[in-house]
C-alpha cells in the first residue's frame, strides 16, 4: 500500500471539509485544515483519556467505570464521594500511575523511532533495533547482579547508563563504517548481540535464580509497581521531547534526501543531528530505566502514523505521540488481563504485534528496490 501526501484519513477529512466550505477559496480551505488538525488532536486526547479510564477498570479486581470516575474526582478535589478504600488504593496507587507511565512510554518510544527513522534515513531504525535496550539490560544486570557502582545507582541507574553507552557505540560504529543508511542497522545488530551476550554471561556466571527472575522480567519490559514519581519523571521527559520534536518537524522533513540536501536547504545539519540524537538517547534511556526494554513500539508506531496521515512531520509527530500512547495503554491492559492473575510482561505483547509489522516493512522495502 502506498500513501501520498495526506494519507487516507486526512484526505477523506479534508475532502469533507472542502465540500462543507462550499468553495476552493484558498484561505477558507486553510482554515478548515487547521480546524481538522485541531479536531484530530483533540479527538486523540479525548480517546486517550477514555482509554486510560477504561483500562483502569480492567484487571483481577473489578472496578466499575463510575467508581473510577468518582475516585479520580475525589483526588482532583472536585468531589467527595464515598468509595471503598481498597478500590481507591487499586485505582489511585496502582492502575492509574501504571496507565499513565504506559502512555508516556508509548508516546516517547514512538517519538524516538520517528526521529531516528528520519535522521538516519532508515525505516527500520528504532531504539530497540539499534541495541539501546540491550545496552540498558547489560547496565541493569551489571548493577543488579554484580553490584557495580554500589547501591547509589540502582537497577534504573544502571539501565540508564547502559542505554547511553550502547547508543553512543552504535552511532560511532555507523559513522565510521560509512555503510550508508543500512550501516546503522547493521551496527545495531552487532551491538544487540554483544550486549545480549554480556547480559547472558553475567546472569549465567553470577546470578542466583531469584535475581535472574527479577532481571528477566524487567528485560522483557514491565510496568509492574509504577508509582507517581515514575509518572512525573516519564511524562516530564516525554513532554520536553514532544515539544522539541514538534518544533523540529520542518527540519526533519528536510532530511528526506540526506544531509547534503538538508544543508543546501539551510539546515544546520551537524547541530540538528546532535541535538535530536542526544534527545533520543536521553528519552530512551529514561524510559527503559523506568519500564524496562519495551520493543518495537518505536519501530511500528511512526509507520502507522505515516500510513494514516502522510509523510510530513508536522503530522507524523503528533500522530505518533497520540497513537503510541493509545497503543501502549491497550497493550498493557491486555497483558494484565490475558493471563490474570499472572501479568504478562508488556514487552511480550508489543513484540507479538511488532514483529509481523517489521516483516511486512522489510517485504515492502524489497518490493521497492
Amino acid at each position: 500500500m502506498v500513501v501520498g501526501e495526506r494519507g487516507p484519513v486526512l484526505s477523506a477529512l479534508t475532502a469533507a471539509a472542502d465540500v462543507a466550505a462550499g468553495s476552493s477559496y484558498e484561505p477558507g480551505r486553510r482554515w478548515s485544515r487547521h480546524a481538522i488538525a485541531a479536531v484530530l488532536v483533540l479527538g486523540g486526547v479525548v480517546a486517550l483519556a477514555l482509554s486510560v479510564g477504561v483500562a483502569i477498570t480492567l484487571g483481577p479486581a473489578d472496578v466499575s467505570l463510575v467508581n473510577v470516575r468518582d475516585i479520580l474526582l475525589n483526588h482532583l478535589g472536585l468531589a467527595e464521594i464515598p468509595v471503598r478504600v481498597s478500590e481507591d488504593a487499586i485505582v489511585w496507587q496502582e492502575r492509574l500511575p501504571r496507565a499513565l507511565v504506559a502512555a508516556a512510554c508509548g508516546a516517547g518510544l514512538g517519538l524516538c523511532g520517528a526521529i531516528l527513522q528520519s535522521l538516519l534515513r532508515n525505516p527500520l531504525a528504532d531504539p530497540f533495533v539499534l541495541g539501546v535496550s540491550s545496552g540498558a539490560s547489560t547496565g541493569a544486570v551489571a548493577i543488579g547482579v554484580l553490584g557495580l557502582g554500589g547501591s547509589a545507582l540502582g537497577l534504573s541507574g544502571g539501565a540508564f547508563v547502559g542505554a547511553l553507552v550502547a547508543f553512543g557505540l552504535v552511532l560511532l560504529l555507523a559513522r565510521f563504517a560509512s555503510g550508508g543508511t543500512s550501516g546503522v542497522v547493521l551496527a545495531g545488530v552487532a551491538s544487540t548481540q554483544l550486549f545480549s551476550a554480556l547480559t547472558s554471561l553475567v546472569m549465567f556466571a553470577f546470578a542466583d535464580s531469584d535475581e535472574a527472575r527479577g532481571v528477566m522480567f524487567w528485560l522483557l519490559g514491565s510496568l509492574e509497581g509504577m508509582r507517581w514519581d515514575d509518572v512525573a519523571l516519564s511524562t516530564t521527559v516525554v513532554g520536553i521531547g514532544a515539544i522539541v520534536c514538534v518544533a523540529s518537524a520542518r527540519t526533519l522533513d528536510a532530511f528526506a534526501f540526506g544531509e547534503d540536501v538538508a544543508a543546501s536547504l539551510g539546515i544546520p545539519v551537524a547541530r540538528t543531528r546532535i541535538l535530536l540524537l542526544v534527545l533520543t538517547a536521553l528519552l530512551t534511556a529514561t524510559l527503559v530505566s523506568i519500564a524496562g526494554a519495551i520493543g518495537f513500539v518505536g519501530l511500528v508506531l511512526p509507520h502507522a502514523a505515516r500510513l494514516l496521515f502522510g509523510q510530513r512531520h508536522s503530522r507524523v509527530i503528533p500522530a505518533t505521540i497520540v497513537l503510541g500512547a493509545l497503543f501502549m495503554v491497550w497493550v498493557d491492559a491486555a497483558s494484565r488481563v490475558a493471563f490474570a492473575p499472572t501479568p504478562l510482561p508488556v514487552g511480550v505483547g508489543t513484540a507479538l504485534v511488532g514483529v509481523p509489522v517489521f516483516v511486512l516493512l522489510l517485504l515492502r522495502r524489497r518490493g521497492r528496490a
Binding site: 502506498v2 528526506a256 534526501f257 547534503d260 536547504l265 539551510g266
Partner: protein, 262 residues
C-alpha cells in the same frame, strides 16, 4: 555582486582536489565546469555551496565570506542540485519541491498561498505539473532530476549550482533542461561532461584538471582540439556551427599525437 571564489584550495583525504581556483561568474550568466572525472568539479561545487570549508581561499556571497553567513541565509541565495540525492520516503513530487521553501519559512508558518504559487511555477518550469501528486519512487531517473531542479527553483535562488544535471536524461530532456537553466534569470554554475552541450548553452566555460583551472573563457575560445587533447587525452575535431556560431566537437578514434608520443 554575486557568488565568487578566490584562490580556493581544498585537501580531501591527503589529495589536493581543488587547487587555487578563482571563479567570478558574470551575474545572470551560465558557467560550464568541464574536466575529466576526478578533476574537482563536484568538490568545487561543494565549496561554492558552503557545504564544506576550503583549506585556504574564500567563497564570497555579495562580498561577504560564506563562512560568516548562516546556512539559511546562504540557502536563500544559493540552491544546488547534487548527484545521487535519493530517498526511501514515500514522498510526492509536490512535497519534494516544497522542501525548497524551507529556508524561507519562519517558525510560525508564513505565506502559504505564496509558497503554493512558487511551487506550482517551479513544477511548470520543469514540465512536471501533471505529475505533482505522483510518488517519488515511481518516477524515472530523468524525472527525479527535474524534480530536484524544481525544488532548487522553489528556493528562489540567485545562484544555481548543478552537478551533472543531464545524467540519466535522454537527449531531448538534456536539451530542454539546459535551455531552461540558461534562460533562468539566475547565475548558474553547471558541471558537465558533454562538451557539445557546454558549447551550446554556456556563456563561459572553465576547464579543470587535477583541481586546477587550465582554461577559461567563451566556449569558442576554450574548446580547441589542442585543449581537448591535453585535458581529456582524446582526439577531437572542432568546427564552428554556421547557424549558432558556437563550436561543435567531433571525436575521432585513436590517441592524440602528444599523448601517443609519451
Amino acid at each position: 555582486m554575486t557568488l565568487e571564489a578566490q584562490r580556493l584550495s581544498w585537501r580531501r583525504g591527503g589529495t589536493l582536489v581543488v587547487d587555487g581556483v578563482t571563479l567570478r561568474p558574470e551575474p545572470g550568466s551560465t558557467v560550464g565546469l568541464l574536466g575529466p572525472n576526478g578533476s574537482g568539479k563536484s568538490s568545487l561545487l561543494r565549496l561554492l555551496q558552503g557545504m564544506s570549508r576550503p583549506d585556504s581561499g574564500t567563497v564570497m556571497l555579495d562580498g561577504v565570506d560564506l563562512a560568516q553567513l548562516h546556512r539559511r541565509e546562504v540557502a536563500r541565495a544559493v540552491a544546488s542540485v547534487t548527484q545521487h540525492a535519493d530517498t526511501d520516503v514515500d514522498i510526492v513530487v509536490r512535497d519534494v519541491v516544497r522542501l525548497g521553501r524551507t529556508p524561507h519559512r519562519s517558525a510560525f508558518g508564513g505565506e502559504l498561498a505564496r509558497d503554493e504559487r512558487i511551487i506550482a511555477e517551479a513544477l511548470e518550469h520543469v514540465g512536471l505539473t501533471a505529475k505533482a501528486d505522483r510518488l517519488w519512487h515511481t518516477l524515472s531517473g530523468g524525472e527525479r532530476q527535474r524534480v530536484h531542479i524544481a525544488r532548487a527553483l522553489a528556493q528562489e535562488p540567485r545562484e544555481l549550482l548543478l552537478d551533472e544535471p543531464t545524467n540519466h536524461l535522454d537527449i531531448r530532456h538534456q536539451l530542454e533542461l539546459l535551455e531552461l537553466v540558461a534562460a533562468l534569470p539566475v547565475t548558474a554554475v553547471v558541471a558537465l561532461h558533454d562538451l557539445n552541450l557546454a558549447a551550446m548553452f554556456c556563456d563561459t566555460v572553465v576547464v579543470l584538471r587535477r583541481g586546477r583551472v587550465v582554461a577559461a573563457g567563451t566556449p569558442a575560445e576554450v574548446l580547441t582540439s589542442e585543449l581537448i587533447a591535453e585535458v581529456y587525452g582524446v582526439r577531437a575535431h572542432v568546427t564552428c556551427d554556421d547557424h549558432s556560431g558556437r563550436p561543435t566537437v567531433v571525436f575521432r578514434t585513436g590517441l592524440p599525437q602528444r599523448v601517443a608520443a609519451r
